[in-house]
Symmetry: C2
Subunit: 180 residues, 2 copies
């Protein structure tokens, strides 16, 4: 149920999917992928939201919190305001978030000797461990789901992994050179 995703599509013109998709929202139609493809992707992302919510263990960690911790793990220490900009929250919001992380021992504040105003945030060993634990939990749940899928479906997902990864990297971008 839920929408026939098994149409032909491919790369040509598909069903009109509503109206003038992506008409005014930037990026000319000629430049990006097919309009219909993009709308389909947007729809799939919407549906996948539900999956994400289910996969998120009740650690009491918000999406932003996890994303911040993962970022600190992946890309190293950031100054606080930089972190706020990268994760798309306000600076006071990030101050609170970091305070929470610090209270739970998952990250810690550090001063910048070169600039007394700056607070540099870095992940702790406990924070790294927390991420790993969470990742393994999620993997466990995913494992159960994937087991029910035919092999070709699993292969399709695997193949798209690196692409999704590249997409994610493109969006988050480099932390504007600093925190070195």
């Amino acid at each position: 149920m839920a929408g026939g995703a098994a149409d032909d599509s491919g790369t040509g013109a598909v069903d009109d999917t509503g109206t003038d998709a992506a008409g005014d929202a930037g990026s000319g139609a000629g430049g990006g992928g097919t309009d219909a493809d993009v709308v389909r992707l947007a729809t799939a992302v919407e549906r996948f939201t539900r999956v994400l919510r289910r996969l998120t263990a009740p650690d009491g960690m918000s999406l932003t919190t996890v994303a911040t911790l993962v970022r600190l793990d992946d890309l190293g220490p950031h100054r606080l305001s930089e972190l706020a900009a990268a994760e798309g929250v306000t600076q006071p919001g990030m101050t609170q978030l970091v305070s929470r992380l610090e209270r739970e021992g998952l990250a810690q504040r550090r001063g910048d000797p070169a600039d007394g105003r700056v607070v540099v945030v870095e992940i702790t060993a406990a924070g790294r461990e927390s991420i790993l634990r969470r990742r393994r939990e999620r993997a466990g749940k995913l494992s159960g789901l994937l087991a029910d899928l035919p092999a070709e479906d699993r292969a399709a997902i695997t193949r798209s992994l690196e692409v999704l990864d590249r997409l994610a990297g493109r969006l988050s971008g480099p932390p504007a050179g600093s925190a070195g």
Copy 2:
């Protein structure tokens, strides 16, 4: 916490890994997919969280709100408690959510003539329009991203769409036969 309705918890094998990302994809393996594959997927999902946050326009709509509205659009009217179970929030939470939707004219309550206790929720024309608008906005942003990707990457994403869709459907499950 949570409803406790969908506590699958997979095989839970998946030991440490974390670094070894070798092995072929799609091998049977009783647990369902290679361990490393699953961990890679879990990691990609983590990273994709950032993408989701960025793609979500500042409509002031929570993930749950959007998912609920999309569900009502896809699968038709649901009773309130059914909606709560499907989206993984408590019944009081869904009562509030629906009240919010109703106040903004995106959904409406309806009585069930066969059962006076029941409240059936259905999406309004304005609600459908809201979803479409949001989807188009998202599509616009995605379009810009996809334009930078090589064609083969776009194809990989397109191919994985239906699989992701199937995954989402598997997790949320049918609304237990109603919404007639």
